[in-house]
């Protein structure tokens, strides 16, 4: 099997493509670095010169607001030049191939490509074809991975819980289609969380999901019992009324997070959501806005985590 393509020959991070396969020390170092940047965002002068003179190309083949914006803010705080490309509206629709698009941008002297793509593995393909000084950061590929989201989730958990070694975490909802779930599962198991649960109906569980090191629950109440962390996944409305789920109402009744169900978790449990939320589908407003919710701090931490990743990969 090939060498892990995101590490260079010295085991250093060359690209960030997936949390899977990253050693515990690398994850910890990213989180520690993010910690040091968390202070920067509180300062009056919010920039540091680590990426001065470098160009970050935001290459989004799928729409995104939160992820793209936080990458942009993170890059700017590192003093990089940021170029946003909304590919969905330009060259792809004219039939240009993915690698041609990348080659053209590369000719414009890119240093970092932040890539979101609907097909699993697309950032790997790009990483195989970029020049040695160029770096690829996966900002979400198909159902496969969303490593910076996974890292910011880990950062959030560490911020509120300190210790992974006694943690019980539950990830609830559409695991089948979720790159967020996959990345977080790999992160939690790598950092030593003893119990990671996934909760949802069979139709939303991928085949052999247990092999990722999780316990599967179809009964949400049983699954939430004594959890320290509850991560709700976004459920796209397009999934409703098809072969996977009959209706939003029925889903919410069984797998939506309400205050009553949350009471089964630990009294100090935190509630997370990668956004965008569907209130009343996967999460009740009283919970989303309630005292257990750390959904907005997640967004703030996302900036520090993305600063950490970019500076570690391409910093001066």
């Amino acid at each position: 099997m090939q060498r892990n393509p995101q590490l260079n020959a010295n085991g250093e991070l060359q690209h960030l493509l997936s949390i899977e396969g990253l050693p515990r020390e690398v994850l910890t170092r990213i989180l520690d670095t993010a910690e040091s940047f968390a202070g920067v965002t509180e300062r009056e002068v919010k920039t540091v010169p680590l990426l001065r003179g470098k160009s970050v190309f935001n290459l989004f083949f799928e729409p995104s607001t939160r992820t793209r914006t936080t990458f942009e803010i993170a890059a700017k705080r590192l003093s990089a030049d940021v170029i946003n490309l909304n590919i969905a509206l330009s060259s792809q629709t004219k039939g240009e191939s993915l690698l041609d698009t990348v080659a053209n941008l590369s000719a414009m002297h890119a240093d970092i490509f932040v890539v979101r793509h609907g097909s699993s593995g697309a950032p790997y393909l790009i990483a195989r074809h970029v020049k040695p000084h160029e770096h690829v950061i996966n900002a979400g590929d198909g159902r496969h991975a969303h490593p910076t989201q996974g890292l910011l989730d880990l950062f959030t958990i560490r911020h509120y819980r300190k210790d992974f070694s006694r943690l019980t975490a539950a990830i609830v909802g559409d695991v089948l289609h979720s790159r967020v779930a996959r990345s977080l599962i790999h992160g939690l198991t790598t950092l030593g969380a003893p119990e990671v649960r996934v909760i949802g109906p069979q139709t939303l569980m991928p085949a052999g999901v247990e092999s990722l090191g999780v316990r599967v629950f179809h009964d949400m109440r049983a699954g939430l019992k004594d959890c320290d962390v509850v991560v709700m996944l976004r459920l796209q409305n397009e999934r409703m009324g098809g072969p996977l789920l009959p209706s939003a109402q029925e889903f919410f009744k069984h797998y939506g997070l309400t205050a009553e169900k949350l009471a089964l978790a630990r009294p100090d449990a935190i509630v997370m959501h990668p956004g965008p939320m569907n209130r009343g589908v996967e999460i009740d407003s009283t919970v989303a806005d309630g005292p257990h919710s750390v959904i907005l701090p997640q967004v703030t931490f996302g900036i520090a985590v993305r600063m950490a990743v970019m500076s570690m990969i391409a910093g001066n």
Partner: protein, 420 residues
């Protein structure tokens, strides 16, 4: 033209012959000992002299996909791989659903004087799975069987009628067993690897459910069906029982599926994007064993040249298939050796067994049989590179591998069509 192949290890799976000796060819047939002086003597000391290989599935990409490969390039690849007869599936553009197209293809192949070409006709018009083709007429123009290639046939009413109609004229039908709905959108075996990589899966029961349907319809219609590219352990089990029950069914396995599994996808290697998908290691091992015990009748290359643009895409978007004609021998030898088989038993899967399914007289070295012979060096290893492949398709997961088994001479109808 008289040919004398001297001092080679003559291996004829059909008769069980495996001994050092001479082979004589005259007037396009295997001949008795010397009928006069040979026009050419081939020294085969240290080499294996075997029947020319027969491949039940090789896409030549003509007509319609000449940018991926041409009849010329792929016929070169065939003889370089020791393949003297090949069946080509009907998924060309337009598909092989009209006698005129079949005629033209056969004439073009004949003019190239390389391997023998056996076209497989489309089972339904445009491979759409709706209306039957003129099978009887297509058979007259040279189609040896009828198939949907990889095109789905979801309508079981159409499948039933197609088998009835084919059975009426005693025409063989070659089918992939894959349920249209269960396979829809899938690109990898539905299991741990697809889950980790976030790739939409095709469950193994997409094969067994379709296979169950096919076997029931064989029972009902008496059609002679060959199942193409079996991919799962459960599929093997169904085939085993069907054969024990005496159904007129045979099946083949692709060369990649006895060596690779979903784990080999690694970090989204699009060369491992195949149809059917590579399944688990357990499935792979079951396929390799099925080929040993005869549950699977033969091994085929499922040769599918794809250009670089078709593979330089994210896994799910990449075009499925791998080049295979030139890998048939090395990968067959590798499987045979790993399975502890005698050389004759290994070669049977690419000579006498596919000949039986094709109902042709080649694939054996009996006197009077067509003089289709491949002479190869079983020990000579060579590193597989894009440049070493004659095929226009350089798409193979085995690029960079060191593989043993090198063809030295390929002889079709008594003419040396390749030597190296």
């Amino acid at each position: 033209m008289k040919l004398h192949i001297r001092g080679g290890r003559v291996v004829d799976p059909a008769s069980g012959r495996d001994a050092v000796g001479d082979l004589y060819l005259a007037d396009g047939r295997i001949a008795e000992a010397p009928a006069g002086r040979a026009d050419r003597v081939i020294e085969a000391k240290g080499l294996v002299v075997a029947p020319g290989f027969i491949d039940l599935s090789a896409r030549l990409r003509e007509p319609g996909y000449e940018y991926k490969a041409t009849l010329e390039s792929e016929m070169d690849a065939a003889v370089a791989g020791g393949v003297t007869s090949l069946a080509c599936p009907p998924d060309t553009d337009p598909p092989l659903d009209e006698p005129g197209l079949v005629d033209m293809l056969r004439r073009r192949a004949k003019a190239l004087t390389r391997a023998r070409l056996y076209p497989v006709g489309a089972l339904t018009v445009k491979l759409k799975g709706e209306a039957l083709t003129e099978m009887a007429e297509l058979a007259e123009s040279g189609c040896v069987a009828f198939s949907q290639a990889n095109a789905p046939l979801g309508d079981t009413q159409v499948l039933w009628r197609a088998l009835q109609y084919a059975a009426t004229f005693r025409l063989p039908v070659w089918l992939r067993a894959e349920d249209l709905w269960l396979a829809k959108g899938g690109v990898a075996h539905d299991g741990e690897i697809a889950t980790r990589l976030g790739l939409p899966g095709i469950p193994a029961f997409a094969e067994t459910i379709a296979l169950g349907t096919i076997l029931e319809l064989v029972r009902a219609t008496g059609a002679r069906v060959h199942v193409c590219r079996l991919s799962s352990a459960a599929g093997v089990e169904l085939m085993r029982r069907a054969k024990q029950a005496g159904l007129p069914v045979t099946c083949d396995v692709g060369i990649h599926h006895v060596h690779l599994c979903d784990l080999d996808i690694g970090y989204f290697d699009s060369h491992c994007r195949l149809e059917p998908p590579l399944r688990s290691a357990r499935d792979r091992d079951a396929l390799a064993r099925a080929l040993v015990d005869g549950t699977a009748d033969c091994l085929c290359s499922d040769h599918t040249p794809v250009d670089e643009d078709g593979k330089n895409l994210p896994f799910a978007e990449a075009e499925p298939g791998a080049t295979g004609l030139e890998l048939l021998l090395p990968l067959a030898l590798k499987w045979g050796e790993a399975s502890g088989l005698a050389l004759a038993a290994t070669l049977a899967r690419i000579t006498s067994e596919p000949a039986r399914i094709l109902c042709v007289a080649s694939g054996r070295l009996a006197v009077g049989a067509p003089a289709d012979v491949t002479v190869f060096d079983p020990g000579a290893a060579q590193r597989l590179t894009a440049a070493s492949l004659k095929s226009q398709g350089k798409n193979t997961p085995f690029l960079g591998y060191e593989l043993a088994g090198r063809v030295r001479y390929t002889i079709v109808a008594g003419n040396v069509v390749y030597e190296a």
